[in-house]
Symmetry: C2
Subunit: 147 residues, 2 copies
């Protein structure tokens, strides 16, 4: 597993990457632009930069596809999001609120802090946003996991 810090991509690009990952397969520029309500050229530029960093493969005029590195990173980003949302839900936020607030906060949470919160929560399997993966979680011997 790569040693991501959580800082590799700007928060905007990280959102793009998560979206591409969650779509699976090839995603078109227009689809991303529409989803994030930005001009297609804005998406193209961001995609080019994400590709240059190695997280996606961009075939001009044909769309983008996750690389192995990108997939690993996206899984970390999603895990982080869900852990942050879960933390927030412990302070009385409803699942959708927790998810919304988590989106604003997560980019400031390092991988290390993510892991520590995960550990402190007993390696939870679920958050309001979905399942939390622990496959590559350095801090999670299987025996520790919560049912």
């Amino acid at each position: 597993m790569q040693e991501f810090t959580g800082d590799e991509l700007s928060s905007r690009k990280a959102e793009f990457l998560k979206y591409i990952h969650m779509q699976g397969n090839v995603v078109k520029t227009t689809e991303i632009a529409a989803h994030f309500s930005v001009a297609p050229s804005t998406a193209t530029k961001a995609l080019g930069e994400i590709a240059k960093a190695g997280y996606i493969e961009h075939t001009p005029y044909h769309g983008v596809k996750m690389t192995t590195l990108g997939t690993d990173y996206a899984r970390f980003l999603i895990r982080r999001h869900r852990i942050v949302a879960l933390v927030l839900s412990r302070y009385g936020l409803e699942p959708d609120e927790a998810c919304r607030e988590a989106k604003k906060i997560e980019q400031c949470i390092s991988r290390d802090l993510t892991n520590r919160m995960c550990m402190s929560l007993g390696h939870p399997m679920m958050s309001g946003c979905g399942e939390i993966e622990h496959d590559h979680c350095c801090c999670c011997p299987a025996g520790d996991r919560q049912g």
Copy 2:
């Protein structure tokens, strides 16, 4: 109490404001520049913008002083910082780590979320960074406060 959202100043300017508040009285440009390790001109520019927004009074060549608005805002910023640090400390971070991480996160935490965390924690009086003020806290009837 003003209806701050927590978004009024960029995080850098908010750090400047907190510093000025904590110094009390008039603070000189050089002192701020030195504290944050930036060129004096960088401080001057930021100070001018913070002043334009009404949080400080800037007398050119003589330094800056908090306004009432700025004081209220700084107190909110400090309260937010301490609440965030307290939350982090509940996930196993030592006080100094919690404080360091809180600095990175707090600017993404809205006033509303701050208040909800505060409430959920039972309106705590202390965090590892110092006392938590509740004077102007909309969510804190005196009876709710934790000893």
